[in-house]
Amino acid sequence: MKVALFLTCVNDGLFPATGRAVVEVLESLGHEVDFPTEQTCCGQLHLNAGYQREGLHVAQQFRRVFEPYEFVVSPSASCVGTVRESYRNAARTMGDPRLEADVEELAGRVYEFSEFLTDVLHVTDVGARFPHRVAYHPTCHSLRTLGLKEGPKDLLRAVKDLELVDFKGSDQCCGFGGMFALKNAATSVAIGVDKVTSVEDAGAEVLCALDNSCLTHVGGVASHERLPLRTMHLAEILAARE
């Protein structure tokens, strides 16, 4: 199967290892990955902050680049959530029904990486080995926007020698929230501190999620608090052969 990778701006700029991991996992399963180099961002930052005009401008770039593909896969639940929900909402706010129909059609072809594995490819064991204690944080967009509950955990459970640890309040937000992290920095950090404390209490070495943006925040808090917690995108664990 041929899939287009939408890496996302955050991963493009800061987390290339996640992109590499996605490519490796998909190729190891026998699929072909295309990377349209003109891709930039989904527009989430703007759309969530109230800059609908600019956000839709970026969204048009996304649409132009990914229009031709049947399967678009992205290692970010929040970016996929943006394509699925925010585009439509923004088109409504702007009073543009044509755009609404266009983005609705596109949304059906864009998948979050773990969702693509479990729901399209029907794979849970990708042959990974990762002998560590891992906590899975369901980010708000994976859990509530995309409704991904057991899929990512099934993937982790199938990883050899990985111990999946539960922690208190796992389904609560980590406090990132895009612009929220800057506009309400103190509250955002307070929520983040509670999150890392609870993960630490559960004895996890690694915190894993489907969004590097949230992990940047949580990992940044942990590092600021001088905690040894490591953060990793799910794809990187699935690509691990330790």
Partner: protein, 721 residues
Amino acid sequence: MTKTFNSESAFPKLAQAELGNAQLRANLARATTTIREKRLRVVKELPDWEELRSAGAAIKDYVLDHLDELATELESNVTRRGGVVHWARTGEEANEIVVELVKATSASSVVKVKSMVTQEIGLNAALEHEGIAAYETDLAELIVQLGDDLPSHILVPAIHKNRSEIRDIFIEEMGRSGLAAPAGLTDDPAQLAAAARAHLRDRFLSATVGISGANFLIADSGGLVVVESEGNGRMCLTLPQTLISVVGVEKIVPNWESLGVFLQLLPRSSTGERMNPYTSIFSGVTPGDGPQQFHLVLLDNGRTSALADPEGREVLRCIRCSACLNVCPVYERTGGHAYGNTYPGPIGAVLVPQLRKGNRSALENSLPYASSLCGACYEACPVKIDIPRILVKLRTDVVDAQRVEHPNNPELLSMKAVDAMFSSPRRFQGLVRFGGLLARVVRRTKVRHLPPPLSAWTSGRDAPLPPAESFRAWFAATHPSASTPSAAPTSKPPATSRAESTTTAPPALREDDARDAMIESLGSPHHGVHDGTPPTGSFSFRRVGELSSDERVAQFTERLVEYRASVVEATKDGVADHVRSFLARQGSTSVIAARDVPPSWLADTASVVAFDDPPLSVAQLDDLDATVSGCAVAISETGTIVLDAGTHQGRRIISLIPDHLIVVVEEPQIVELVPEAVARLDASATQTWISGPSATSDIELERIEGVHGPRVLDVIIVRAS
């Protein structure tokens, strides 16, 4: 003097102050965790919860589409039942109306049932300004009022206080305005509740004017529904001669059947109970029972302008359950005061800017950003308000206003710059390359300090640095043929234009035109899909139970026992034995009953029996120990007994004042589900729904039995065979 919110500060600043309060953080974390768990437990046990939510949302949407018609229907029904309806376009108008009504009674004080809307309009301050004392009677409101504090939660305004702080407030303040706290008061919640009972008792018994809000207004019967726990609501709705209810006009529901939906959604979402201890339902004036003067003040105060916003009107579905506060990660850390107004939490963040459209103070501009958009509120909301979507819409309003008013503000300029970067592949790739370059120079993986505005990030978080090799470089090297720019032809983005604003300011009108002006604005300019028929009958939630009669009796018993009521089963002839032993157990030596109770219920009792015929005075009732009453319907799933002043029951007051209530329930009166009970009841009857003894969850959200209503509830189930 009553404190009022008067905040011009933005949310982040107010939050900063609250975040530093460790005690507050601990209180909130404990309370919200408790209530979240309770809510989940009782929501999970309803197989049709999602259908109920959809039904709740659809009924409210129907209402929003027909508010003009429903409000006039309500008005005519309330009037027909002996009430007077007033229309208030603004908070000031409502306050003026209430002040005049109270003055006309020459009362110097009023007792109040907890009401968000009277806080919204600052009614207490308006009354005090005229020399009228307004006494809050809900336990949490009392704590806030005595502590000269501000409410911080919709349901539990004193959620930010823990038990020992509450004890201190009681000891210091109760004596200043009435009966002092008893000596040696501890922080045991039951003792605190008892102190509140004693402090307020005389105030209730001598009150001449009561003021309330309402949870629902039933258009087709003119009924008001007041949902509560402690019995203070029943006191205020039953004892004073004059009752004034101030209610937001969006609280209307089309018909009686709607309660079958909302009385399931509301208690489970708010206190996490299957049913709240008391719900009072009445319309207009009930001759000989309760207030003989009834005034309903219908309030607009921004609601019609919210209604005119097709994308934001959904906020008016809100039933003020506070579930969204309890699940909100932001609220849990900052508490309610950071929201700077009566309505805190996620609903406050959307409702306040909607009610104050056009008002662009720092607070209103900041509220839509007081959320991480995590979506927990939407998931919990019993009427499915998509709060995250509305927050984004309101942010758009803020930004669009900035574009006009402050086109050069730094945020706008940087967002435009980022847009320019992100919508050009060439510039974006340049940025990624620059990141790699930076990484090679800095040679670190994280930074601890960034310059403003990014210093906000590093105030509590380290930041990552870009890696030396970008994904693009790696992919190009490893997949020389796969990197395609884009196969799609470049198409011009379709022009998008902002829809014309449909909000128009209501024209200034004279006071006596308020009614017509309000009704006109209630005639929605955005009629949705609904035609003229309320959608109540068309939903798939459970309307009929499946349990056998034996199973219903068993379930009813189990629920009542959970509420700490005593339950016995009896034969038709065995009622008197149980009545006698219940009276003896409590040491109740005097008992009241309606004139029509079967003499066999009270045969051979050693207690003095009084019949409410002629009606007893409040003082006489207060001297009696117990009440024996029949009921109209009982609900097994929620352990609820409904009194409707019908056969074997009598006036509302007789099941309220004596401290010990014995109810005789006949087996055929027990239904399984709330909608079944609703179907059996007469919409025009004055009703009291009782689920266990009076109780409060106002101290750290733990349920404590026994506040203002009867503290002991005994139930005798008369088996059919």
